[in-house]
């Protein structure tokens, strides 16, 4: 358990509601605005992922820049087909990331296996068989703009999180999200 979780638990149990709320909003602001990504680019989508952080699309504007080291990043972007041979490596890299961590499944292959869903003996049908995925982007491959949208969606998801374990925060979503009520309180 990370130190910050302990702090969150202590604040939560001591009833320091106001302090917890302000720490939470600071934490969510910082986490949402500085989503460093681990480009887990395996196939075609990796090309669009590269394009996303270069001149024309420039993800650095949103504070998202790629770092190859899993220890330094917040979000793993799985871009491309994951095969059975690759799966242990992906899982290990995910485990090496420091909490809090998120996963974006980019492209149909990472979402479901895509064009290789049928008849393939070696493709993992969706990276969610291996990791908890936060945002899915469809497309084969998705355009860099969809990646941008995924970062914004992830920010909204982060805005509902609290540093106290098991708590969520109220958040007004830009678009209706199924299953996510805007009320705060205990997560189920």
């Amino acid at each position: 358990m990370a130190l910050v979780d302990k702090l969150g638990a202590a604040l939560d149990s001591s009833g320091g509601g106001i302090i917890l709320t302000s720490v939470d909003s600071l934490a969510d602001w910082a986490r949402g605005k500085s989503l460093w990504s681990m480009p887990m680019g395996t196939a075609c989508c990796a090309m669009e992922l590269i394009a996303a952080s270069f001149s024309k699309f420039d993800f650095d504007r949103h504070g998202t820049f790629p770092r190859p080291d899993p220890r330094h990043v917040d979000v793993m972007i799985v871009a491309g087909t994951i095969t059975r041979k690759m799966a242990p490596a992906v899982q290990r890299l995910y485990e090496q990331m420091a909490d809090p961590k998120w996963v974006i499944a980019m492209g149909n292959c990472a979402v479901s296996g895509g064009i290789f869903y049928y008849d393939s003996y070696s493709v993992v049908r969706g990276v969610d068989e291996l990791l908890p995925v936060d945002v899915y982007i469809a497309g084969c491959p998705p355009r860099p703009e969809s990646m941008q949208d995924a970062v914004f969606q992830l920010r909204e998801k982060i805005a509902t999180e609290s540093i106290a374990p098991g708590k969520t925060r109220p958040h007004e979503f830009l678009l209706p999200v199924p299953g996510a009520s805007s009320g705060g309180g205990e997560a189920e």
Binding site: A2, F54, S55, G63, R71, A98
Partner: protein, 316 residues
């Protein structure tokens, strides 16, 4: 006891200065590199994305601090501090304004080149204790590099000491005359290159070579410990630039008070920006090319500069 309290206050203030300088430095680096690469860089938070690095820092502080199982725990935890502390200490001898320096010692220049060399131990320890092949290689490369570049760096500073007849940075700055810069231009170049190498920045970022060793000696650090490594890199950048501005370029000399501070700041900013331009333009050296450069090019250059100064000196 007042000296003590003053020291403590100065220490805290120095730490704060480094933190702020690092925040600004990272932001500036991201902006400069973005402009070189036809991008915008951070724009979203604050004016021109100025608070982007603040968000990054808060996030890093709040992140889980992983200590992997295979590491040597005490050494692993000690290493970032061993890198950071010497670099923070080296700030005390830099004259930030005309007539004022935090610690006015007669061996200030020697102090400045000697104390940061202790951070090599931190680099080696980080590489060793991580128990990871990338980190081990990065640590070894870093140590070899930093030891090699200490010599030309010291020699280049020595040329200025010889010219000014003093090892106290404040004295050197006060005695500065405009023709010193052209006369010691070689020393400035040697100092500039070897400072970049000493800080493990591109094109000398061999210990952390992203395309080879992923992140090198700090590959296994996360959260705040990694932030300390980054902070020492940018703190070192700031220290090296201010020292270079003060010693080789006259620093705050010529303008009184606050204007002097602004002057030295501007000169240091020029050096910092130059370092960033170099980093984002050049490819990385290979370790053997790096050592060749240190021993076969920079060291002889520094010696030539010493001879030049020695020839000039009797005419003064």
């Amino acid at each position: 006891m007042t000296g003590f309290v003053g020291g403590a206050v100065y220490g805290l203030a120095g730490g704060l200065v480094i933190a702020v300088a690092a925040l600004f430095g990272v932001w500036w680096e991201r902006k400069v590199s973005a402009r070189i690469q036809m991008r915008l860089g951070p724009t979203e938070i604050g004016p021109a994305g100025l608070f982007q690095t603040l968000a990054d820092t808060i996030k890093l502080v709040l992140k889980e601090d992983i200590t992997p199982r295979q590491v040597d725990r005490p050494l692993f935890r000690m290493a970032p501090l061993l890198v950071f502390t010497p670099i923070a200490m080296s700030l005390v001898v830099i004259p930030f304004a005309g007539g004022w320096v935090p610690l006015n010692t007669s061996v200030g220049m020697l102090f400045f080149v000697a104390v940061p060399s202790v951070s090599v131990i931190g680099v080696l320890l980080a590489g060793f204790s991580s128990g990871n092949t990338y980190a081990t290689l990065g640590g070894l490369r870093g140590a070899a590099q930093m030891i090699s570049y200490e010599l030309p760096r010291t020699l280049s500073v020595l040329a200025m000491a010889l010219l000014a007849g003093s090892l106290a940075p404040l004295e050197v700055m006060n005695r500065y005359e405009w023709w010193w810069t052209p006369a010691t231009f070689i020393a400035l170049i040697v100092y500039f290159i070897s400072s970049i190498a000493e800080l493990n920045r591109g094109p000398f970022d061999i210990p952390e070579a992203e395309s080879e060793l992923v992140a090198g000696y700090f590959a296994d650090y996360s959260g705040i410990r990694w932030a300390i490594f980054m902070m020492s890199e940018y703190g070192g950048l700031v220290a090296a630039s201010f020292f270079g501005a003060a010693i080789f370029m006259g620093g705050a000399q010529g303008l009184p008070g606050v204007f002097g501070v602004l002057l030295i700041f501007a000169k240091a900013l020029v050096l910092i920006t130059l370092m960033m331009l170099v980093k984002w333009t050049f490819p990385r050296f290979r370790s053997d090319q790096l050592l060749t450069l240190a021993w076969k090019v920079l060291t002889p250059m520094a010696l030539v500069q010493l001879v030049i100064v020695g020839v000039i000196l009797p005419w003064l």
